[in-house]
């Protein structure tokens, strides 16, 4: 459905996108996951024909983003990351307006937005600017869906949205997939990755890895531990000083660590680490082995990619 080949884009000296290629199958939920500034929005704008790439090609349903932008614009839906509806128009007026510019009526595709619009209905006379974050996004989604697009682009739809509404939004995306709509969703929340059929992990303008969320997790080969104690900030410093430490970062209310494989068997054992930390007077110490999450994979891939990027520089 979407075919992207060697897309690159520069803003001045900043390389927003570097040689990106990927394909999206019809009817899948494709997640683009990465922190702020990874280039997600730039990529979305290129695919939605809003800006032109410096290099490379992209086709949506066989239409070229450069030449056939009219056709693409008639057939896709786009929900920008920033709330872009009219704040001084009411919920109902916004929806009416977007239905009319897409040459359709609210009733025609009402089944698509029914579940979500029913939640908005009590506020339909309220100005969009006065809605809560979650409600705004739901309305924006309704407006982007009103013409039943072939492909729907959602740029960070869940940013600034409460956990309940986030779940509702993702449930809705699943329903849309069942309707045959192809979805490209970006997010900076790694825990949402599991909701996608396939994900691309993105950092500093390039893709680190593209696969199903499960495969990405399966590819994580290191042993991973969650460590906690009563003094978490001191714990992080002490962990970083541990000789066999490979990576170590705060993750929620614990620290995730992985140890160097090539170190001696003793130092990589849980027992050794425990003794090391107890000697440093850590109380209520807990070390347990855990399954890697997408975020752990992302951290690992990011670290590996920054190592690779540094290498050539040393020879220059």
């Amino acid at each position: 459905m979407i075919k992207v080949e060697h897309i690159a884009k520069k803003y001045g000296k900043v390389e927003a996108l570097q040689d990106i290629s990927f394909e999206v199958e019809a009817g899948e939920i494709y997640g683009i996951i990465g922190p702020d500034g990874a280039g997600k929005t730039t990529l979305f704008r290129i695919l939605t024909t809003l800006i032109l790439a410096d290099k490379g090609n992209a086709c949506l349903n066989g239409w070229d983003v450069r030449k056939d932008y009219r056709l693409i614009r008639n057939n896709i839906g786009y929900m920008p990351g920033r709330f872009s509806l009219y704040q001084d128009l009411s919920v109902e007026e916004n929806l009416q307006f977007f239905a009319s510019i897409f040459k359709t009526r609210i009733e025609t595709n009402y089944h698509l937005i029914k579940d979500i619009y029913q939640q908005l209905a009590p506020f339909k006379k309220r100005r969009a600017g006065a809605l809560s974050g979650g409600m705004k996004q739901k309305l924006a989604l309704c407006c982007a869906l009103i013409h039943k697009p072939l492909i729907l682009f959602l740029d960070e739809p869940t940013t600034g949205v409460d956990p309940v509404s986030r779940k509702e939004l993702w449930d809705l995306l699943k329903q849309l997939k069942a309707e045959g709509i192809t979805l490209v969703v970006s997010t900076s929340y790694m825990d949402e990755a599991g909701r996608c059929d396939r994900i691309a992990l993105m950092l500093k303008g390039h893709f680190l890895s593209v696969d199903t969320p499960q495969n990405i997790v399966n590819h994580y080969t290191d042993d991973l531990w969650a460590v906690s104690s009563c003094n978490m900030s001191k714990l992080l410093t002490d962990l970083k000083n541990y000789p066999a430490m490979k990576s170590c970062y705060a993750f929620g209310d614990v620290h995730h660590i992985s140890l160097q494989q090539q170190a001696t068997a003793y130092t990589t054992s849980q027992q050794a680490l425990q003794t090391y930390l107890e000697n440093l007077h850590h109380n209520e110490l807990s070390i347990r082995k855990i399954e890697a999450s997408i975020e752990d994979c992302f951290m690992e891939l990011a670290a590996r990619s920054s190592l690779e990027n540094k290498k050539p520089k040393q020879y220059v």
Partner: protein
């Protein structure tokens, strides 16, 4: 298909009207400001002199000086504040900013005038405001010379006399409003069409709405048309308001054909809209749009249109600058038709200039309208 596109257009226009009428300040700017402007420029900010306070120093106190003072006092330009008896008092009065001018008669005025012909009147005005001082002394001189003609030459038969009869055509009473109305028309139409259009399009960009509008089946021309139509309608409302106010409140009659005035105004509205569109293609925020339309469009119109300062007395550069301002051509044409009552043949040049500006600007701004966001 046609009806479908038309209904899209209509709902876009409806949305635009919501924007205008839901923002209190926009509504005020669009509907109240033209009225305020015509009142301000018509009544308050007037370059003509009315009821200036003057003092008289009259050591003679004879028939001639009384007659002259009387003549000044009965004119609408001057009000006699008081008589003073010492020149020293005058200085204090000027410093207190109480008076505009002082009239000092020489001693034994009537006698000297009749016999030696050596009667003097000194006019003292406050030179710190040169325009005002100049106007006052001009008016006073004119009144004094009228007195001279009326009274002196009746008695003495002079072999030759030259009398200057000044007649102010089209505006016999020299009312400032005659100059103001075309100027305010030009200013308001420019403000509403150019400034408001450019701001409203810049707003779509600034708020991110343009992204969604572009990623939709809307054609750029539909976006442009539906953004401008509400402002065209508002311009006509304002145009009508200003004309009505000027005829009934400022008593400036429409001497020429109303149809011709409307035609010229239509062309000018298109020129202004195109300018607004052009500005909006260049900027991305409302603030910049407002600054550019304010600085590039409004100030020159106020300063270079001859509304306040005569362009003829400006340097060559500014005269050229004045020539490229669409508003000046419009104001000139409206002056000719509305005040002088001239027909279409006398404004052909203005109409052609405005038309070509409209065509060029509309073409450029449609071409420059970006179908992408960079």
């Amino acid at each position: 298909m046609y009806t479908n596109r038309f209904s899209t257009f209509l709902s876009f226009v409806r949305k635009e009207c919501y924007h205008i009428f839901r923002d209190r300040w926009t509504t005020i700017i669009l509907l109240i400001m033209p009225v305020l402007m015509i009142i301000l420029f018509g009544f308050a900010i007037s370059t003509e002199v009315k009821n200036a306070h003057i003092v008289v120093l009259d050591p003679s106190q004879d028939a001639a000086t009384h007659a002259i003072v009387n003549k000044l006092a009965t004119s609408e330009y001057f009000t006699i504040d008081r008589y003073v008896y010492d020149l020293k008092e005058i200085d204090a009065l000027f410093k207190k900013d109480k008076i505009g001018m002082c009239i000092v008669f020489s001693e034994r005025f009537y006698e000297n005038m009749m016999h030696s012909g050596d009667a003097h009147i000194q006019l003292i005005a406050d030179g710190s405001d040169p325009n005002y001082a100049y106007t006052l002394t001009q008016y006073a001189t004119a009144l004094i010379s009228t007195y001279q003609q009326e009274n002196l030459f009746q008695n003495i038969k002079l072999p030759y006399q030259i009398q200057t009869d000044i007649k102010m055509l089209y505006n016999p009473t020299l009312k400032g409003a005659y100059n103001t109305v075309p100027g305010v028309l030009g200013m308001v139409l420019m403000l509403i069409c150019a400034m408001m259009t450019s701001i409203s399009i810049a707003r779509e960009k600034e708020m991110g709405n343009m992204e969604i509008l572009l990623v939709s089946p809307l054609k750029p021309i539909t976006i442009i048309l539906s953004k401008t139509v509400p402002y065209i309608i508002l311009s006509f409302i304002n145009f009508a308001t200003i004309l009505l106010l000027s005829v009934f409140a400022l008593k400036v009659p429409i001497a020429g054909s109303l149809g011709l005035i409307i035609l010229i105004s239509c062309i000018f509205i298109f020129v202004s809209l195109a300018l607004g569109l052009l500005i909006s293609t260049l900027v991305n925020t409302q603030m910049v749009a407002m600054l550019i339309s304010g600085v590039v469009l409004m100030f020159p119109v106020i300063l270079l249109s001859g509304m306040i300062f005569p362009v003829e007395s400006m340097g060559v550069f500014f005269q050229w600058l004045a020539k490229i301002l669409p508003a000046n051509w419009y104001i000139a044409a409206i002056r000719k038709v509305m005040i002088q009552g001239l027909g279409i043949t006398s404004v052909v040049k203005e109409i052609i200039v405005l038309l070509s500006m409209a065509v060029v600007l509309i073409a450029v701004s449609i071409k420059k309208f970006k179908v992408r966001i960079e």
